[in-house]
């Protein structure tokens, strides 16, 4: 649409006048390109986020005549009741993020530096889980780690583990499940950052008598830090909001804030309280993301998404 305008402008009028008009119209081109997608995001992304704040200040009940907007700030006191779940979500998510970084870094380092012509194939293998539904993967972990599943059954049979030993419904199962599911999100930004590092810098360090470890410590690691931070953000934020792993692999003692929000919305139909919790989670994550974007820019994190 906007591009056509430009063509039209170029075809009409004297060369000079058309040139000036072209300049003005050209400035409008990006807005023309932005407007369809921008309008969509305004309606189906920004508006709902705003409306959730509105919902969180309503009072009433679904069965007692519906909800009305009453500036009901009391809904936010709900957070004091679910403080354990909120703290647990953040704690789990931090453990997950560090575990995933620790697991993914050596692998992505090796692929980026020594993968050679297998780089693309190896990267595809890391992304392989994306081709199987998230729910199926988690359900299969539930099966694999089951009390009488293939792994534990064998270990109990040969007497390595006591009969009552279990993995499911423990914090370990939930943390391990989330780590598994978000590992590709950690690996991708790390890989993108490591891949970009100029190999000759490492060689230079070695020529200057750095050991392999020193060359890594002083050259590769600092240069990969933007990727580490992007990986941190792209893992920590979604992991904090996850509830599927806690629902499938966890038990009553491992419920996260996502489970509470989900139940309040879909089972209890207590929309204002659910929205209040959601707003709290959203604000926390947006603040984190903003601080990140302020300090490090949005480039690195979105580049990783593009690499997928």
């Amino acid at each position: 649409m906007a591009a056509e305008d430009v063509v039209e402008g170029a075809a009409s009028g004297t060369p000079l006048a058309s040139h000036r008009r072209l300049g003005r119209r050209r400035r409008l081109v990006p807005y023309g390109l932005l407007s369809p997608g921008g309008a969509y995001l305004a309606i189906f992304f920004l508006l709902p986020l705003g409306l959730m704040v509105y919902t969180s200040l309503q009072s009433g009940g679904l069965l007692s005549g519906g909800f009305r907007f009453t500036w009901d700030w009391a809904n936010y006191t709900v957070v004091t009741r679910y403080q354990p779940q909120l703290v647990r979500s953040i704690a789990y998510s931090l453990i997950v993020t560090f575990a995933a970084l620790l697991l993914a870094y050596p692998m992505t380092y090796w692929i980026a530096f020594y993968g050679g012509r297998w780089k693309a194939s190896l990267l595809l293998m890391i992304l392989m889980p994306f081709f199987v539904s998230f729910v199926i993967r988690t359900v299969q972990w539930k099966f694999i780690l089951g009390d009488n599943g293939p792994v534990l059954h064998l270990l109990k049979e040969i007497g390595v583990l006591p009969d009552e030993f279990r993995v499911l419904a423990t914090p370990f199962a939930v943390v391990a499940g989330i780590t598994y599911n978000f590992l590709p999100f950690t690996a991708l930004p790390l890989y993108v950052a490591l891949e970009r590092i100029d190999r000759s810098l490492v060689e230079a360090a070695k020529d200057l008598y750095a050991t392999r470890w020193q060359a890594f410590r002083k050259v590769v690691w600092p240069l990969s830090l933007p990727g580490v931070f992007a990986a941190f953000l792209l893992t920590f934020v979604p992991a904090t909001g996850d509830y599927v792993n806690a629902a499938l692999l966890g038990g009553p003692g491992t419920r996260m804030i996502g489970n509470i929000i989900q139940e309040k919305f879909l089972t209890e139909n207590n929309y204002p309280e659910a929205a209040a919790l959601s707003v709290i989670l959203m604000v926390a994550m947006v603040v984190l993301a903003s601080v990140y974007a302020r300090i490090l820019g949005t480039e690195e994190a979105t580049r990783a998404a593009a690499a997928a």
Partner: protein, 283 residues
Amino acid sequence: MSAVATEVREEIHELPPVNPRGRRWTRFILPVYTVLMIAYLASPIFVMILYGFNDIPGIRPTQTPRFYGFTLSWWRNVFNIQGLPEAVKNSLLIAPISATVSTILGTFFGLAIGRYRFRGMSAVDFVIFLAIAVPEIVLGSSLLSMFIQSGTSLGFRTILLSHIGFSIAFVAVTVRARVQGLDRSLEEAAQDLFATPLVAFVKVTLPMITPAILAGFLLAFVLSLDDFVITNFVAGQTNTFPLWVYGAQRIGIPPQVNVVGTMLFGAGLIAALANVIVHRRRA
């Protein structure tokens, strides 16, 4: 820094390229570790494929650790189970529509933020960044809030609208990454040869960003097909494949789920490989 690096690189060819430290067994640690990690990442996929062939007895069998023997009957009767065909059909209808619409909207968006500098650009950048970084549960619950407030009935339509919404940002950044890496002088050369800006764009730029558009489409397709959290909020009574699996697993995994999962996995792998090949040919 870089000047030093290039100088050193020139010298390197005169030195013997032997690194005695790399000759020990320790050099196998990282490759072995990588292979083990890939095996770990693949393990639930392997279990899924394997147990799609398990010959479990019973009327409504579910996955058990015991492997009774090899059968193709779940492959032959894959839709012989209530609810699964409708769920898969919905998923396979929503994914291509969502991917097509979000690819069109996201491509324009990506072009705008990749090619131009304009007022309000940092705000637009931040919205895109936010759309990628916001937890799914927040987006899902807020979409539900909006649909309830506006009295929209939940179902196929609301799933589709939501999927398009969360895919646009991913397509936009995929296209942007490619557009930013383009050599603008090629398009300018075309314009110097009297191509109008539109013709120059269609003949020069568009072919160069086609791989990114395709990749964005694939990404949007997979995101839609795979989504559980947001869909669960806005689906109402409508089922998609992930929602159906989530409901069914309460009493155990029917083997047909593994078969459908394996089919989608195979299709996804083929599409990804095709994309890699297209990339290679374009490069």
